[in-house]
Symmetry: C2
Subunit: 888 residues, 2 copies
C-alpha cells in the first residue's frame, strides 16, 4: 500500500476527513466529510486530495505510482457500502465527479454526472427504477456531459440533435420526450460520438471514471479558471480536489427535486431561510437559470416533513460552522440529501447584517464579527445609488431581479470581450447586457459598471459572480429582448453605446444616464463600525502616549471634509492646496505670478490670491472643528498652471503686461523632461519663498479667525517633497516668521504644527535628521512608491500588467503598499524619526491609506493614523480594527 494517503472516504455516518482539511480535500470535500461526521444525510463517496492535482501537473500529467490501486480500493469500499457496482447491468452505481479547491471558484471547473452508465447498465437502471424514461435521460445526459467535459467535444453537436428530436416529436421541453425518444437520442448521440471521436462511446465504467478525474484536474488550468484566480487574487493553492460521490436524483418524478438554500438572506442578511428549488429536476437546472425556480417557502406547503428536516439541518449546520451556510440539497423520492454546504457568499449589506446579528445572538464575538466582512463587501455599502428624489420622477424601463445591490450607469455592450475592449480604449463606463453570463464572461463582468441579464435567477451565474465582485446586477429581466447588438425593451430599441442605468438593489432598469448618490447607513452598519471603532480606539500603542489607531481623510474642500467627518474621519490627513490655485478667479493671478519678472510683481499677484485661499481654509477648518487638519503647501510644478490655449496665453500676457511671445517663451522655459522629478514641492518653496509665505499666511489667518468665531482649530502645515533636513529647516523658519507676524498682529495664538511629507527616499533614509525639524511625518506613499521603484504611475501601464501576469509583482504596488521594499523605507523612517522624537506623530496620506493590507502594515509600523479618501474612511475604520486584532 501507499505511504501517502491520496483518497479520503466518507459515508455511513463517518468520514476520513473533516472541515479542517480544506487544503487537502478542497472546500467541498472537507465539508462533505464534516457533514457525514455530523450525521447529516450525505450521499457516500470519496475525495481525491489536492496534492494529486499538484503531482499531476508537476509530473507531466501522470499520477503517483500508488494512486490507481488506492482508487480501485476506495471505489470498491463505496460499492460495498452502496450495495451496487459501477456499470452493473442489473443495479448500477452511478457517481458524480466534481472539482473542489480549497477556495470556492463557482462554475470555474468541470463536473460530470451519472458516471458509470453504459449500454448494459442503462437497462439495469431502467428496470430497477422501473423508470426507463429516467434511465435513458440519465444516459443521454451522461454521454453529452462526458463527451464535452472529459473529451472536449463541442456541446452543440448534441444540442443540435436534441433540438431536431424535439422538433421531430413536436415538443417544446426535453422533459416532454418519451423514454423511447430518449433511447433514440442515445443512439444518435453515440453515432455522433463515433463520427467525432473515431471510436465508440467508452463502455468501461472504470475507464470513464479515470477520464473524468483527468478532466477535473485538467480543468484546473483552463483559461477561465486561471483568469478567475487572477481576478480574485487566489494564489498558492496546490490544485483542485476531486469529489466522487454516489448519485442521488432530483428528477425521479414529482416526489423528487433539487434546490439551493442559504441559512440567511445572502442579499440583505435578514435571518430567514432563503432558497430556491425545482421539483423533478437535476441540481444544475437551478443554478443554470433555465427554469425559474420556486421560493423555498413553497416547499413548506408542498412537503412539510422534508421542509422541517431541511430547516433542522440548516440550523445544525449554521450553528456548527458559526456562519451563514450556502447548501445544495436533493430530494430523491421523498428522501432528503445534502450535497454541499459552505459559508455563503453574500453582499456587503448581508455580510454586515449577518455578522452583527450573529454577534448579538451570541453565536460569534464582536471581534470575530470584524472578520466576517471584508473590505470589498463594506465598500459596496458606500457605492452610489440613484437619488430617491430623482428616482421618483423616473419611470423604469423594466424590472428584473435585484441580484447585486448598488446603482450603475454605463454604455451598453453586448459581449464580455467588447466590455474589455471598450474599457481598454478608455471608454470606462460600460454596462454588460447579456441573455445570461457564463464563466467565460468573467473578464468583461469585472470591468463593467454593472450587469444586466434577461434570464436566470438570484443564484444564476451572473448574480453570484456580480455579488462577489460588488458589481450592481439586475438578473432575469425578461422584458429585455436581446438580439445581436441591439436590445429591445418596451418597444424601444437600444444600440451598443447607448446609456442605461440599473439599480441592483431593486432590479429596476432605466433608460439613459442617471445620476447616482451615496447611500444611507443601516443600523447594523452603524453598530458594526461602532464596534470597529471600539476595538481600534482602545488599542494600546507600544511606546506611544496616544491610545488607538486613528483614521483621517484626504479632503480639499469643505463639502468633502463634511462628508468624511460623517463617515467617521478623525481629522484631515491631507488637504492639497493646488486645486485652490485652479479655481476661477485665482488661476489668472497665479499665472501672473508665474510670469512676473520680479519679486515685487510676484508678491502683488499672490496678494490677490491670499484672501480667496483664506476663505477656502476657513470652510475646511469649520467643517473639521476640534480635529487636526494637515494642509500641504503647493506641490505641483508651475508648468501645470500655465495657460495652454493661444487665447489664454494672449489674455494672461495682456494682464501681465508682456507680449504673447514672451509668455510663450516663459512657458517653454518651464517645460520639464521628468516633471515628477522636477521643480516642485518644497523646491518651489526654496526658490519662490513668497508662495509658501502667502499660503502659510492664508492658513494661519484663517485659523486665527475661525477660532475667534468659536471653533477649535489644529492646523498642521505640511511641507512636501523634503529630501534634506536643510530644506525643512529653512522653510520651517520662513513659516514660523510669517506665523509670528500674524500672532503679533492679531494678538491671538492658535495651536499649530509644522511637519513634512516623507515621499522622497532620501528623506526616509535620513529621517533622524529630518525629524529634528518636524513635528510630524506623513508618509506620501504615492510618490515614495514611485521613486523607490523608479517608475512613474503614468508610464508604468506599458509594463506593470506584464509584471503582475509574470508574477514579478504580486499586486500593483501603487494600490497596495510594497511592504518589502517601500515598507522598509517607511519602517526605517518611523524608527529613525521616533529615535529622535519619541512621540513624533506619524501618518500616511498616500492612496495606500485606504487599503486594508497597507493599513495593517501601518499599524504594525506604529503609525498614529491613516488617511484616505472620504468614501474609504469606513473601510479604513474596519481595516484598522482588523489590524488591531490581527496583531494582538
Amino acid at each position: 500500500m501507499s505511504d501517502t494517503k491520496f483518497i479520503y472516504f466518507f459515508g455511513d455516518g463517518k468520514a476520513e476527513g473533516d472541515a479542517s482539511m480544506k487544503q487537502v480535500l478542497g472546500g467541498k470535500g472537507a465539508n462533505l466529510a464534516e457533514m457525514t461526521n455530523l450525521g447529516i444525510p450525505v450521499p457516500p463517496g470519496f475525495t481525491i486530495a489536492t496534492e494529486v492535482c499538484d503531482i499531476f501537473y508537476k509530473n507531466n500529467r501522470k499520477y503517483p505510482a500508488t494512486f490507481d490501486a488506492e482508487l480501485r480500493d476506495t471505489l470498491n469500499k463505496l460499492e460495498k457500502l452502496m450495495g451496487k457496482k459501477l456499470g452493473d447491468p442489473k443495479d448500477p452505481l452511478l457517481v458524480s465527479v466534481r472539482s473542489g479547491a480549497a477556495v470556492s471558484m463557482p462554475g470555474m471547473m468541470d463536473t460530470i454526472l451519472n458516471l458509470g452508465l453504459n449500454d448494459a447498465a442503462v437497462e439495469g437502471l431502467a428496470s430497477i427504477t422501473d423508470n426507463p424514461r429516467f434511465a435513458w435521460d440519465a444516459y443521454r445526459r451522461f454521454i453529452q456531459m462526458f463527451s464535452n467535459v472529459a473529451l472536449g467535444m463541442d456541446i452543440n453537436v448534441f444540442e443540435d440533435i436534441l433540438e431536431e428530436m424535439r422538433e421531430a416529436k413536436g415538443v417544446e421541453n426535453d422533459n416532454e420526450l418519451s423514454a423511447d425518444a430518449l433511447k433514440e437520442l442515445v443512439t444518435l448521440y453515440k453515432k455522433a460520438f463515433r463520427k467525432n471521436q473515431n471510436a465508440d462511446f467508452p463502455q468501461d465504467p472504470y475507464a470513464q471514471l479515470q477520464a473524468a478525474i483527468d478532466a477535473v484536474f485538467g480543468s484546473w488550468n483552463n483559461p477561465k479558471a486561471i483568469k478567475y484566480r487572477d481576478i480574485n487574487g487566489i494564489k498558492n493553492l496546490l490544485g483542485t480536489a476531486v469529489n466522487v460521490q454516489s448519485m442521488v436524483f432530483g428528477n425521479f418524478g414529482d416526489d423528487s427535486g433539487t434546490g439551493v438554500c442559504f441559512s440567511r438572506d445572502p442579499s440583505t442578511g435578514e435571518n430567514y431561510f432563503y432558497g430556491e428549488y425545482l421539483m423533478n429536476a437535476q441540481g444544475e437546472d437551478v443554478v443554470a437559470g433555465i427554469r425559474t425556480p420556486l421560493k423555498l417557502s413553497a416547499l413548506a406547503e408542498q412537503d412539510e416533513t422534508i421542509y422541517k428536516q431541511l430547516v433542522d439541518i440548516k440550523e445544525r449546520l449554521e450553528n456548527h460552522y458559526r456562519d451563514m451556510q450556502d447548501m445544495e440539497f436533493t430530494i430523491q423520492q421523498g428522501n432528503l440529501f445534502i450535497l454541499q454546504t459552505r459559508n455563503g457568499k453574500r453582499t456587503g449589506a448581508s455580510a454586515v447584517k449577518v455578522a452583527v446579528d450573529m454577534a448579538k445572538e451570541g453565536l460569534i464575538t464582536k471581534e470575530e464579527a470584524m472578520f466576517r466582512v471584508d473590505a470589498a463587501q463594506l465598500d459596496q455599502l458606500f457605492h452610489p445609488m440613484i437619488d430617491p428624489k430623482v428616482k421618483q420622477t423616473l419611470k423604469p424601463l423594466a424590472k428584473g431581479l435585484n441580484a447585486s445591490p448598488g446603482a450603475a450607469t454605463g454604455k451598453i455592450v453586448f459581449t464580455a470581450d467588447d466590455a474589455e475592449m471598450w474599457v481598454e480604449r478608455g471608454d470606462t463606463k460600460v454596462m454588460l447586457v447579456r441573455k445570461e453570463t457564463s464563466p467565460d464572461d468573467i473578464g468583461g463582468m469585472n470591468v463593467a459598471q454593472g450587469i444586466l441579464t434577461s434570464t436566470g435567477g438570484m443564484t444564476s451565474h451572473a448574480a453570484v459572480v456580480a455579488r462577489g465582485m460588488g458589481r450592481p446586477c439586475v438578473a432575469g429581466c425578461k422584458d429585455v429582448v436581446i438580439s445581436g447588438k441591439t436590445m429591445k425593451v418596451d418597444g424601444k430599441v437600444f444600440n451598443e453605446g447607448d446609456w442605461i442605468t440599473i439599480d441592483g438593489s431593486t432590479g429596476e432598469v432605466f433608460a439613459g444616464q442617471v445620476e447616482t448618490i451615496a447611500p444611507e447607513m443601516s443600523t447594523e452598519l452603524v453598530d458594526f463600525l461602532g464596534w470597529a471603532d471600539e476595538i481600534r480606539l482602545s488599542a494600546e500603542r507600544a511606546g506611544l502616549s496616544q491610545k488607538g489607531f486613528l483614521v483621517r481623510t484626504n479632503a480639499d474642500q469643505p463639502e468633502d471634509a463634511k462628508l468624511a467627518r460623517e463617515l467617521g474621519a478623525e481629522g484631515i490627513g491631507l488637504c492639497r492646496t493646488e486645486h485652490m490655485f485652479f479655481d476661477e478667479g485665482k488661476l489668472e493671478y497665479f499665472q501672473q505670478m508665474i510670469v512676473a519678472g520680479t519679486l515685487e510683481d510676484r508678491k502683488k499677484s499672490l496678494g490677490k490670491i491670499l484672501d480667496l485661499q483664506k476663505a477656502d481654509f476657513k470652510g475646511i477648518f469649520k467643517a473639521m472643528s476640534g480635529l487636526p487638519v494637515t494642509v500641504r503647501l503647493l506641490d505641483p510644478p508651475l508648468h501645470e498652471f500655465v495657460p495652454q490655449t493661444e487665447e489664454d496665453i494672449k489674455k494672461i500676457a495682456k494682464m501681465a503686461g508682456i507680449t504673447a511671445e514672451a509668455l510663450t517663451d516663459k512657458i517653454a522655459s518651464l517645460h520639464e523632461h521628468n516633471p515628477m522629478l522636477g521643480h516642485r514641492g518644497c523646491r518651489l518653496g526654496v526658490t519662490y519663498p513668497e508662495i509658501y509665505d502667502m499660503q502659510v499666511e492664508a492658513i494661519m489667518t484663517a485659523a486665527v479667525e475661525v477660532e475667534a468665531e468659536g471653533d477649535e482649530v489644529h492646523p498642521e502645515i505640511m511641507i512636501p517633497l523634503i529630501g534634506t533636513w536643510q530644506e525643512l529647516k529653512i522653510l520651517r523658519e520662513n513659516a514660523e516668521a510669517v506665523i509670528a507676524d500674524i500672532f503679533a498682529k492679531t494678538g491671538k495664538k492658535v495651536d499649530y504644527k509644522i511637519g513634512t511629507m516623507i515621499e522622497i527616499p532620501r528623506a526616509a533614509l535620513t529621517a533622524d535628521e529630518v525629524a529634528e525639524h518636524a513635528d510630524f511625518f506623513s508618509f506620501g506613499t504615492n510618490d515614495l512608491t514611485q521613486m523607490t521603484f523608479g517608475f512613474s504611475r503614468d508610464d508604468a501601464g506599458a509594463f506593470l500588467p506584464a509584471y503582475i501576469q509574470q508574477g514579478i509583482l504580486e499586486t500593483d504596488p501603487t494600490a497596495s503598499l510594497d511592504q518589502t521594499g517601500v515598507g522598509k523605507l517607511v519602517a526605517m523612517a518611523a524608527q529613525l524619526g521616533r529615535g529622535v522624537k519619541t512621540d513624533l506623530k506619524l501618518g500616511i496620506c498616500g492612496e495606500h491609506g485606504g487599503d486594508p493590507a497597507s493599513i495593517d502594515f501601518c499599524y504594525r509600523t506604529n503609525l498614529n493614523y491613516v488617511s484616505c479618501s472620504p468614501f474609504r474612511v469606513p473601510i479604513a475604520r474596519h481595516a484598522a480594527a482588523q489590524a488591531v486584532l490581527n496583531n494582538k
Copy 2:
C-alpha cells in the same frame, strides 16, 4: 585683562603663535609666527585671531568687550620693540594691515599699507628718511588705499587726479613725479576726500587702524570673497585673521626692492630657485603685473650677499615645511625681510614632479607624496594639448607667458560677465581675453576654456588663478591689443565670437579653432601613479578574498577601451550598448523592430543587428584581453530610438511596410510623461525578451570567438534597472538559456558572470534578495542619486544652484556622492548583498567613480572597484591610493 586671547604677537625672534595655529591665526599669520620663531628676518607685528571675525559677524559687527584694550596693549608692545610710535610726528611707525584666512584666498580680501601716516607724521618720515619723495609717495598711496579699502571710495577719483598730475608734469610714470608734485597730490587727494566724505581725512592713527581692521573683517563677506569660497568649495572657516605688521619698504631707492619667489618651479616643478623681483618697488607692484619684473637669477648678479641670504632662507623654509615654498621678500636699503611664506600653489605637472622629487630626495615618504597632489592638479596633466604634428603647420599669432599649461580653444569674449552669459545660454566654449584680470573676474575665468591676458607676469592674478583652476592661460601677451570688444594682433582684427586657440604650456596664441589631443605622461607622473598603484593594489580588504582596490573604466568603443587601458584601467566597469543601436546600419533595423507588430517580425529585425553588435563586442574584448568587461544590456526607453523627422518616418514606415500615419501613431504611443521612470532597462527585457536575447547572443558569441582567436575574455553581463529579485531571476534564466545554447552549438565555454546595476532604491533596500540571483552588483549612482533625491539632473538646473548657494546641499550630489543619503543605500546594499554572498563583487559605474571623495567612500564601503571615464582613470588610481592611506 581678557579671559580669551584674541591677539598674538610676533617679533624679536619669538612669537606667541606657530605654524600649527592656522585655524586661529590664518595661514599668513601662522607662518609669520613660525618664521619669527625660526629666526627668519620678519618685520615684527601681531595677528588678530579669526575668532574675532566670527564674533564680529555674529555680534552685529561689534568686537568682543576686551578687544580694544588688548589691541592697544599689543600695539604698545610693537611700538616699544620698534622704538617708534604710530603717527609720531618725528619718527612714525608705519604698519600694513592684511587679511589672512586659514585657507589662502589670493587677492580676495583687502590690504592697507603705510597705515599710521598723517599730515604731521609724513613730515617726520620725510625728515628721518631724508627722502621727502618717498614719504609723500607713501602718504598719497596710503590715502588712496585707505579711502578705497576702508571707506569704499571709488579708486578712480584718485586715479584721475594722479593722471591729471602726470599730464600736468609731463611724465609717464608715477615714479617720475617729484616730492613736490606728490605733496601737491596729497593736497588734491585730501580735497577730493573731503568732497566725497564730507569730512577731513582721518588724522588719528589709532582710528585709522580700527577702520582698517573693520575693513579687513568687512571684506570677508564681500561678493568676490564669497564667490571665491563658493568656486573653491572653501567652507567651515571662522573668518579671516588680520595681520598688523611693521612696514618695510622696497621703494626706498635702488638698494631696495621687492619680490616673489618659489623654492621650486611652480609651473614645471623643476628644482631650481624660481622668482621675480623689482628694485625700488612696493610688493603689490610685482603681483599686480604693471611693471614686468626681473628673473631672480638677475639678483644673484646684482647683490650676491642678499641672494645667498635668500637662498639660505629658502632652503631652511623648504626643509622646515617639507614642501615647496612661495615667499614674498622685501629688501629695504640692503636688508632682507621675509614678508610671507606658504606652501606654493602649483600646476599639476609641478605638483607631481615636486612630490616625486621630494620623495626621492628623502624629504617626504611616498605615502606623503600621494597627498601633495590633488585630483584637480592631476587632471590638468590629462588635459588636451595641440597635436604636435598639427602645430608644426601652424604659425602662432603671438606669444605670451606660459602661465598655466594645457591647450584650449574657444570663442573670444572680452569680459568675465560676457563669459558667464555666453556659457549660460549654451555657448560653452569661450576664451576670456583681458588686459589683465582682477578678483572680480573669477566667475568668468571659471567658465572659460582658457584665459589670455595682454599684461602681467607669471605671478599675476590671471596666472595664479588660472593655475589654481587648471585653466590654460597665456599671460602678458603684449602683441595683443585690446580695445573695447575687439582685439588686434599682428594687424589682424578679432571680434567677439571669433575662435582662437591658446597653448598655456608654451605661451602661444593661434587664430581659429585648433584640434587638441591628449598629452604624454612624464616619467615623474609614471613614477607617481606607479606608487599609487603599489599602495592601492597591496591594500588588504577586510573580509574579501581580493587584495587591492581596482580601477575600471566606462567605455563603449574599442578605441576608448584601448586608451583607458593605457591610462591604467583594470577592466571595463560599464560598456553601454545603446550607442550600438544608433550606429548607421543598425538604427534602421532597430526602428523596424520597434514598429513591428509581431514577435516574428521583431526577431527578424533584431537578427539583422546581431552580427553587427557581435563585431562591436569582439573589438572591445580584444582591447581588454585578460580583463573583465561589464556589458550593460539595453537601458534607454524605445522612444529614444524612433525616427524624428518626417522624412525618416516615411523611410522607416516604408521599410516596415506600414503607413507613415501608423508609424506616427506608434511613435506617439511611446511618449512618456517621465521617461526616466518609464519603460526602460530590464522592463524592456521583461516585455521584449527577444531584445536581451539578441544582445546576450551577440556578447557571448563574440566572447567565444575571441577566445578561439587566442585572447582571454571575462564578460560580465549586467542587467540594468532591477527593482525586484523576480526581474533578475527571470532575465538571468533567459540569458542562461541563450548562453547554454551557444556553448552547446559551438562546443566551447567561456568564463562569464551575470549581475545587475543597483540604481533603483528598491534594489538597494532588498539587495539580500537580489544578491541571490546576481554574481555582482555595480552601483549605478547616477540614477540612484536621482531617484533617491527625487530629482532629475535634466530638470534640477532650476533649483540646484539655489540649493548649493543656500547651503542646502554642500556640493552637487550628481558630481560627488551624497554619502549621508545615497551612500546609506549603497552601504546597505553592500552589506545585505555580502550577507548573502560573502564575495559578491561590488563596483560603482556612476560618474562618482571618478570623484576622489566618492572613491574614498567606495573604499570604506568595501567595493572591489570603481569605474570611470578613460581620462579619469589616473585620477581614480591616485584617489584610490589616497583612500587606502586615509583609512589605514
